[in-house]
Amino acid sequence: MRIALVDGPIDVSALIVEVSDDSCGAATVFLGCVRDVNEGRAVTGIEYSAYRSMAEREMTAIAREAAERFGVTRLVVEHRLGTLRLGDVSVAVVAAHPHRAPALDAMRFAIEQLKRRVPIWKLELYVDGTREWVGAGAVPEGVR
């Protein structure tokens, strides 16, 4: 298993090759992509930033948890940072396993946990030239 924050394009084909071997009857891929509209506003791109050291730590913890829960050790998670344009892949989760159910479950678990726990932020860039932090208006859960 491997996780990474990357500053350039994500090579999805390379990730599939990386996790697969002859024992794997299934490989699952989730890609998160930059979408052209968010909450009714036309988007031109997104600037991703992170608390890198903690993000890597949380992503590693998620990959370990996926291995424990689903027995999927052939897992790679890459999240891209920096300025991305429409259609660019911002995150890729690729899992492989002898059977499809664990590969699907591990992939779903990893992306849902990433979105919940990993300190990464989106600054959305709009067609009208304005920009806004996504989720900044949300009420935080509060210090635990």
């Binding site: 998160g32 991703y48 930033s49 992170a50 608390y51 050291s53 903690m54 993000a55 730590r57 999240h79 911002s90 995150v91 992306i111 990433l114 979105k115 919940r116 726990r117 990993v118 300190p119 990464i120 932020w121 989106k122 600054l123 932090w133 996504v134 989720g135 900044a136 949300a138 009420v139 935080p140 859960e141 509060g142 210090v143 635990r144």
Partner: protein, 80 residues
């Protein structure tokens, strides 16, 4: 003793900086740090109970500080 406070995204914009060295009294907690930040210019734009991590682990308001820690104030995350 001192701690390094890290601010990100909308919180960094609110305070106008992304890192602050703070002198804190022995026995201070995360709650005390948040109180100090809220009194700074722009600190009123932080929520009253933001998420906080101490040395890259999510912490609670009562987490004690001993000096030298990295205290990160974490806006709502939005990866993916």
């Amino acid at each position: 003793m001192t701690v390094t406070v890290l601010l990100f995204a909308s919180y960094a914009d609110a305070l106008g900086k992304s890192a602050i060295e703070l002198d804190v009294a022995p026995g201070s907690t995360v709650r005390d740090i948040l109180g100090t930040l809220s009194a700074m210019p722009g600190g009123d734009r932080l929520p009253p109970r933001p998420l906080v991590a101490v040395n890259q682990e999510y912490a609670s308001a009562s987490t004690a500080l001993h000096g030298g820690e990295e205290v990160a104030v974490i806006p709502p995350v939005a990866g993916g």
